[in-house]
């Protein structure tokens, strides 16, 4: 692979040793000469190793991204979600339509986000939702039996990661998708739902109609609660501490 003369292993080591032996013989006890010997011999040794080292490093350089990609090819998602529990539980079957749907996450979400519950007819039944610690809940008064779907999209207040998951559960019974206000109201709801899913504006509608979380959402619109004073004090303290620590020590 390499045309470098030191790649000829036997010759390299042979040269190295003989150099070393010659210098050693002539060195007597002079530390200066001793240093020269050391330097010369190690120099040859390093040159020898570097040829092999390059290929080892190259192999390692290939191995690392491959290994990471193999793992990444699994189910690791950078924007992760952690559904801790829910009521009704995912993939469960309820005997009647729930009046309230709750979802508990393993990290507290920031209050603003999206929480959409669809009933067996695919209609959005979560007109508002509240966030209490790590639990999101939404009243669902008019849901129809069938396969319900819950979709949430939040940012963790703890580690900044985005939760974005969907789960479903079933409700026993015969669904009646011809609701009273039918076509207009349902169409509106569909529009809202579609809008929410495509990140267009229904989430805003949902926020406006939100009970407990509406305040947080509105507060957020007006200006989030940034602890400006503590952050400024902490920053000033850090810089001040550094300047104090950096002061020149008294000269001796």
């Amino acid at each position: 692979m390499s045309t470098h003369p030191s790649d000829t292993k036997g010759a390299t080591w042979g040269t190295s040793r003989s150099c070393y032996e010659r210098l050693q013989l002539g060195s007597s006890n002079s530390p200066q000469v001793g240093n020269v010997e050391t330097s010369t011999t190690i120099s040859i040794g390093v040159t020898y190793v570097r040829k092999r080292n390059l290929s080892a490093a190259a192999r390692l350089g290939l191995l690392i991204p491959v290994a990471v990609l193999v793992v990444a090819g699994g189910s690791v998602a950078l924007a992760h979600g952690i559904l801790e529990s829910a009521n009704p539980a995912p993939d469960s079957t309820a005997s009647k339509p729930p009046r309230v749907v709750t979802t508990t996450l393993s990290e507290d979400p920031v209050p603003d986000g999206r929480y959409i519950v669809r009933d067996g007819c695919g209609k959005v039944v979560s007109k508002d939702f509240t966030v209490d610690g790590d639990t999101i809940s939404a009243p669902t008064p008019d849901g129809q039996p069938g396969k319900w779907q819950v979709r949430f999209d939040f940012i963790s207040s703890a580690d900044g990661h985005r939760y974005n998951e969907t789960y479903s559960f079933s409700v026993k019974g015969n669904k009646d998708c011809s609701a009273p206000e039918k076509p207009a109201a349902e169409d509106d709801a569909e529009d809202e739902a579609e809008g929410a899913e495509s990140s267009s504006g229904a989430s805003g509608t949902a926020h406006e109609e939100t009970g407990g979380s509406a305040h947080a959402a509105d507060a957020g619109e007006a200006g989030a609660d940034v602890p400006a004073v503590p952050l400024t004090i902490a920053s000033a303290a850090a810089i001040g501490l550094a300047l104090l620590g950096r002061k020149n020590p008294p000269t001796t």
Binding site: P31, N35, E37, T38, S39, T41, I42, S43, G45, V46, T47, Y48, V49, N53, A56, L60, I64, V68, V70, V71, A72, V76, A77, L78, H80, S106, E107, V110, D112, G113, D153, I155, S156, A158, D159, G160, H161, R162, S199, S200, G201, S203, G204, E221, G223, A224, D225, V226, L231, A234, S235, A236, A238, I239, L241, A242, G245, R246, K247, P249
Partner: protein, 330 residues
Amino acid sequence: MGQEVPALVLWSARLLIFLSHALLFGLVPVTLLVLRPAFASANLATEDQGISLLRRTKIVVLVSLLAGVAGTLLTFLNNALEDASLRDVGLGFGSIERVLSNSFGQWQAIRFPLIAAIGILLLGRTGRWLLAGAGTSETPAPKRWWAAWSILSAALLLTIPFSGHAGAHDLRATAVTNDFSHLGFAATWITGIVALSYLLPGGWGRSSRDVPISLLAPAVDRFSRVAFWSISAVVVTGSINTILHVGAFSPLFNTGYGRALLLKVGFVCVILAFGAMNHFLLRARLNESLRTEQPSHHAAILRRNVRTELLLGIAVMATTSWLVGSAPPA
């Protein structure tokens, strides 16, 4: 489709944060407490070696500071973009304000003044004090400097567990304390590896002629002991982290987080093998070589091992960056 920082960029940003914070935390104890005494017998003030050491220390400090700022900026920007995307608005002051209103954003934000403060403390000082007693008229770092460094570097490192999974754990105090210890010991170890492979005269990028065994052997001897205890502590605290964040055996194999963790453990095992070779075999050979004033090819083997360990250490950090972005099973 929301606007986001691409996943690979975000992953790189996390890697930059890990590496920079590790170096900013580990550089001072490794250079001033481990390496400096090893230089005591050498006269580095007038040597090319001393100049090289100072220049390289400065480069490591500068690169770490810039990488820390860049990584933090990118993660902060990502959060602001995600907030904007979630609210269907463009990126603006409102999104930044909203990121700053949650604990994650606050821990990110506090990194900037901390990094600036550490920069003020380190630039122009670490190098001078590194050579104190090695043929220069410099006096060792005063206690006040050490006190300021201890507080600032610990605070900087603490921003990682507080803005990560440890900060969101049910056993928050335990998880944060353990993660902080894990990062601190890992930072000490990897900075030592950087010091041996790059900072020392004759390090990466220099002519191999400059490898001085009179510096290498005592430095390796001193660092080897530190590395032994550091890596042991990393293994112990890492195991506790696994219990806290994985909680059971099966998720190690059937979740993405678990598989990434196994990959990380695999890298650490290879590092342990190299470390054991350095600690138990090469260190003694180098000391013997120094004592008898006879040159040894073991120096070259050690340097090769250390460079491989450095690459593996970066691989461990890259895997950790991935873990930070994925969901822990427990």
